[in-house]
């Protein structure tokens, strides 16, 4: 295999994992846009959704039926969570909110362990084995499938936000909650909707990554760090940025793991740390984000 095809191969694999980071980052960004909160429990919620899917499949439901059921459960769960756990601390200082989401992180992680134990579970791979071979670069159906699913999710979100009345209402709330409330929008419901959507998008990322990483309660811990890096790079209030950031982080991770010997496979997790630090020091609002203007 020539060096170029090898490089391309690594890029393709990077895009595959990057698509997963992108979808979790998308969930983070959705919540941040609506509520100004960075949800440290996002990865764990995705993991919980994945367990729901696993349970449904294990109890005999066909995969393509279990998936929409899982997404529906996640959506409802996300809405409930906003109402019960997040609403009481809405508007509280960042310290409080971060601690509450960290508490949620610990709780959800342990809850999954309590219900399903910490043993690793096989998660069904929805995409067929094999793949395409484009001039020496091998593209597995699973990689292509992940990228395709994330693209579809992106497209649906775009349609929802730009071409439906609900989307308009949601954008109004994200833009200015007070004005939105004055013009008759029920902001509380929209916030719940936002969390529901985020939980659903997160669930997609969990279901996509589970066949690769194998399902266990700590599955999403590593993914979350990459998703944070992706959201930071793209800007915490830009969905497009989250996807671009996710793909970039995925490729950067794979390439450094493959080509920088000092880093290797074990130290790849340093890549998001470096990206987060670099972005925050050089361009804190991210590539696509708007700089926060503060009135003293």
């Amino acid at each position: 295999m020539s060096a170029v095809t090898d490089l391309l191969q690594q890029v393709v694999e990077g895009l595959g994992s990057g698509a997963v980071y992108a979808s979790l980052a998308l969930a983070l960004v959705l919540i941040h846009r609506f509520t100004g909160i960075v949800n440290f429990a996002q990865g764990e919620l995705a993991m919980l959704s994945t367990y729901v899917a696993w349970q449904l499949v294990a109890s005999g439901m066909p995969y393509w039926l279990a998936l929409p059921a899982t997404l529906a459960v996640s959506f409802a769960g996300g809405m409930l969570l906003e109402r019960i756990v997040i609403r009481p601390v809405q508007g509280a200082p960042e310290l409080t909110v971060v601690i509450v989401t960290v508490g949620l992180f610990i709780f959800v992680n342990a809850l999954a362990g309590l219900i399903w134990s910490f043993t690793v579970k096989d998660f069904p791979q929805p995409f067929p084995d094999g793949g395409l071979d484009v001039s020496g670069v091998r593209m597995d159906w699973s990689t292509l499938g992940i990228i395709g699913v994330v693209a579809v999710v992106m497209g649906l979100l775009y349609l929802l936000f730009q071409h439906t009345s609900i989307g308009l209402v949601m954008r109004a709330v994200a833009c200015n909650p007070a004005s939105a409330r004055l013009s008759g929008i029920r902001v509380g419901w929209v916030l719940m909707l936002g969390w529901g959507l985020a939980a659903t998008v997160g669930a997609v990322s969990g279901v996509l990554v589970a066949p690769v990483l194998f399902l266990e309660p700590n599955m999403m811990g590593g993914v979350l760090i990459y998703a944070f890096a992706a959201a930071t790079l793209g800007g915490f209030d830009s969905p497009v940025g989250a996807v671009v950031g996710g793909l970039f982080v995925g490729v950067a991770e794979t390439l450094t793991g493959a080509y920088v010997d000092v880093i290797g496979a074990d130290l790849k997790v340093g890549v998001p740390l470096v990206i987060i630090l670099a972005v925050l020091l050089v361009r804190p609002q991210g590539l696509f984000g708007r700089a926060a203007v503060e009135r003293a």
Partner: protein, 382 residues
């Protein structure tokens, strides 16, 4: 002014109560290792170790208002400093303590510089990813750190003259270090540094206008805080005699924050209560299930943030206040918490409230003393 007469009237009580408390606590602390079985003494020792780490985190989070999800990493740095020195250079145990403290102070200083530009959740992000990154790094540095096998070092042996068992001797050594560390934390908060820290937490702009150098104090807060975590890590190595990367996963960092929140953010003895939690909740609930400690911790953190932001340490005061039916007064401790300012626009109101109510809570005199920030006397309408 009513506040002055109130504080004069309770002056003797304020002096007497802490002294008595300290004496009783000291007597209990010294007597404990002769009463309990070795394993229980070991557990108590670990509580003290965690208390040092938590008081460091408390400096940063409780008093400084900055969030760190990476203090387990500083803890690990301290532990590995001690272990490597003992393993490779055969130094005495006591020599590792200043080295771990100084090393982590510098490390914290290095982290404090980016922390200046990162507020709130971004700081949490960076520290969290640092905590995630450290264990694989420790594994990689195998020639020094022993890789994933870790390092086994000699525990501290009791000198012959003491006539104590190993666990008892260890307990007293750790008790001494902990006492010094907690005293240091308390005095630090009563000093210029502490007052500046509180001012920065409560209102950055106002603090800067008063002449507090934000950059200096925020960086220093991180450095001090890291130093405490490093000292705790060093003690950990002394007590356990073994370090491995997997003991310091990012779960440790999160557990430390959880313990502090449950114990009481911004309270001087909150870290002790929190440390007891970090130690005993897992060991008690582990019998139920491997996951039970997490469930308990997670639920407790959320509940504490909702109903008692001052944590366990603030609970007696809140309960007593509620019994006395003086609802505005009971929020005194709460006002010192950042959470109390539930909405940005409610800020002036809550600060006005905190003025007269402070002197009515002698429960935590140190914090009350630490309060004056060099602010001009508040004009009260009473």
């Amino acid at each position: 002014m009513s506040t002055i007469t109130a504080s004069l009237g309770t002056d003797r009580v304020r002096w007497l109560r802490p002294t008595l408390t300290v004496l009783v606590a000291a007597a209990v602390a010294v007597g404990a290792p002769f009463y309990f079985a070795p394993f229980q003494v070991f557990q108590l020792t670990m509580v003290l170790v965690y208390a040092v780490a938590l008081s460091g985190l408390n400096l940063l989070t409780g008093f400084g208002g900055q969030i760190s999800l990476g203090h387990g990493a500083f803890f690990a740095a301290g532990a590995y400093t001690a272990a490597v020195m003992l393993d490779r250079y055969d130094t005495s145990h006591l020599a590792t303590l200043p080295a771990a403290a100084a090393g982590c102070f510098l490390l914290g200083l290095g982290f404090g510089v980016p922390a200046l530009r990162l507020r709130g959740l971004y700081l949490a992000l960076v520290t969290l990813s640092f905590a995630v990154f450290l264990p694989p790094l420790l594994k990689r540095l195998e020639p020094v750190t022993g890789g994933s096998m870790g390092l086994t070092v000699n525990k501290m042996q009791p000198p012959a003259w003491s006539g104590l068992a190993e666990d008892q001797w260890m307990y007293f050594v750790v008790l001494a270090v902990t006492a010094v560390a907690l005293l240091l934390a308390r005095n630090l908060l009563r000093s210029r540094v502490g007052r500046a820290l509180l001012a920065v937490r409560d209102n950055e702009s106002a603090a800067e206008v008063m002449g507090v150098r934000l950059s200096l104090h925020k960086t220093l807060a991180f450095a001090w805080s890291a130093m405490f975590a490093g000292v705790a890590g060093c003690l950990y190595t002394w007590v356990i005699g073994f370090v491995s990367p997997d003991s310091f996963s990012f779960v440790l960092s999160i557990t430390l924050l959880a313990g502090l929140v449950v114990g009481g953010l911004g309270s001087l003895y909150g870290p002790l209560l929190g440390a007891a939690f970090v130690m005993y909740v897992p060991s008690v609930s582990q019998d139920v299930s491997e996951a039970a400690p997490g469930v308990v911790f997670g639920l407790l953190i959320i509940t504490v943030m909702f109903v008692a932001p001052t944590g366990l340490a603030g609970l007696p005061g809140r309960v007593l206040g509620a019994v006395a039916r003086r609802p505005p007064r009971t929020t005194a401790a709460l006002d010192r918490m950042p959470e109390a300012e539930s909405a940005p626009d409610a800020e002036p109101e809550s600060q006005a409230l905190s003025g007269p109510s402070e002197t009515h809570t002698p429960a935590d005199p140190a914090v009350v003393d630490a309060e004056p920030v060099g602010a001009p006397p508040r004009t009260e309408k009473e």
